[in-house]
Amino acid sequence: MPRIVVDVMPKPEILDPQGKAIAGALPRIGLTGFAGVRQGKRFELTVDGDVTPEVLEQARHAATTLLSNPVIEDVTRVEVIEEDEQ
């Protein structure tokens, strides 16, 4: 069944405490090549049937009303992916 992927990221101006914690942990396992980390969320909405324009519009609506909070987060991707695609 096709899936719609929704990516949500903390806004650039919002300090991301989770990303900061991960950035602090990387050098502890010897990985020093990264200047920063930001942590977001990926949602996969599975569609029963074809992804019609209406379904895609519903996914966009879900992305901005429930899946993200526009005060602190941006929706960075709403996209249909094929079965074998990640």
């Binding site: 919002i14 405490p17 900061k20 429930l66 909070n69 005060v71």
Partner: protein, 262 residues
């Protein structure tokens, strides 16, 4: 003093401790979501302040004629998506949002901790909460200053009066853009500010805010845990108290009761 703990499950009124008080006729609804933790404490606080408390269920479509609503602390829906995000769409929240947005006789609503997060997600209050800047869950007795004693929930305090009540959360860092923060400051809508150190990185030390009308107030610390001597914090902004003797939070609940009695 003993307080009977009623079973959750129906909108039965829980009468106040003092049935002769005129405040007893005021009905304060306390909402229970799956994952609410402090709903019984809020019910108890309403009773100790002299009012009648009514249990409200998140899935209900009826506010049962309550005069005000408290959205309590906890982890509604497990805080799975974002704190308060799923609760916003509960059937009862639609009723509360509509009633709280009305004109002069809008419903007074108080959101405590997770309840504050629900109010921001419902757009009844601006801004949002992110993880504490320390990344730690913080549990401590916190000193606050009442910056607006003119709201439905703070009228029993003096302007700039301080209080000590418990703070306990993980997602307590209040954030908003500078324009929103300037608006909140300019319109006197910063209701509580942290004193003696900002515990979580909240912008401009903000601990609680209100809407323009002052009927909707949200705050992160927990006034309902500082309402009865013997069960409160070990300190008070009013001076020395005995062990667990702090009751600085009680005024939040007497404020709304007295406002509603007129």
């Amino acid at each position: 003093m003993t307080v009977e703990t009623p079973l959750i499950g129906g909108p039965q009124p829980v009468a106040s401790n003092n049935e002769d008080s005129p405040l007893n006729g005021v009905k304060i609804g306390v909402v229970t979501f799956p994952g609410s933790l402090d709903d019984r404490d809020a019910v108890r606080a309403v009773r100790l302040a002299g009012g009648s408390a009514i249990h409200l269920w998140h899935g209900d479509h009826d506010l049962h004629d309550v005069d005000a609503v408290i959205i309590p602390g906890g982890f509604s829906y497990g805080d799975y998506l974002r704190a308060g995000a799923i609760s916003r769409f509960a059937p009862l929240m639609e009723q509360i949002t509509a009633a709280a947005s009305g004109g002069a006789d809008a419903l007074p609503v108080l959101g405590i901790c997770n309840g504050f997060q629900v109010l921001t997600e419902a757009h009844l209050l601006p801004g949002s909460m992110i993880k504490n800047n320390s990344l730690h869950f913080i549990c401590r007795d916190q000193r606050l200053r009442v910056e607006n004693a003119g709201t439905f929930w703070t009228s029993e305090y003096a302007q700039d009066e301080e209080l000590v009540i418990p703070l306990k959360n993980q997602d307590g860092q209040f954030v908003a853009d500078n324009r929103t923060l300037d608006e909140l400051e300019g319109e006197g809508r910063v209701v509580f500010r942290y004193v003696d150190g900002n515990p979580n990185g909240s912008r401009r030390d903000i601990a609680g805010i209100s809407n323009i009308a002052g009927n909707v107030v949200g705050l992160m610390p927990h006034p309902e845990h500082a309402v009865e001597a013997g069960f409160g914090p070990d300190s008070s902004a009013r001076g020395e108290v005995g062990v667990r003797g702090g009751t600085d939070g009680l005024g939040i609940f007497t404020s709304v009761l007295k406002k509603l009695v007129g």
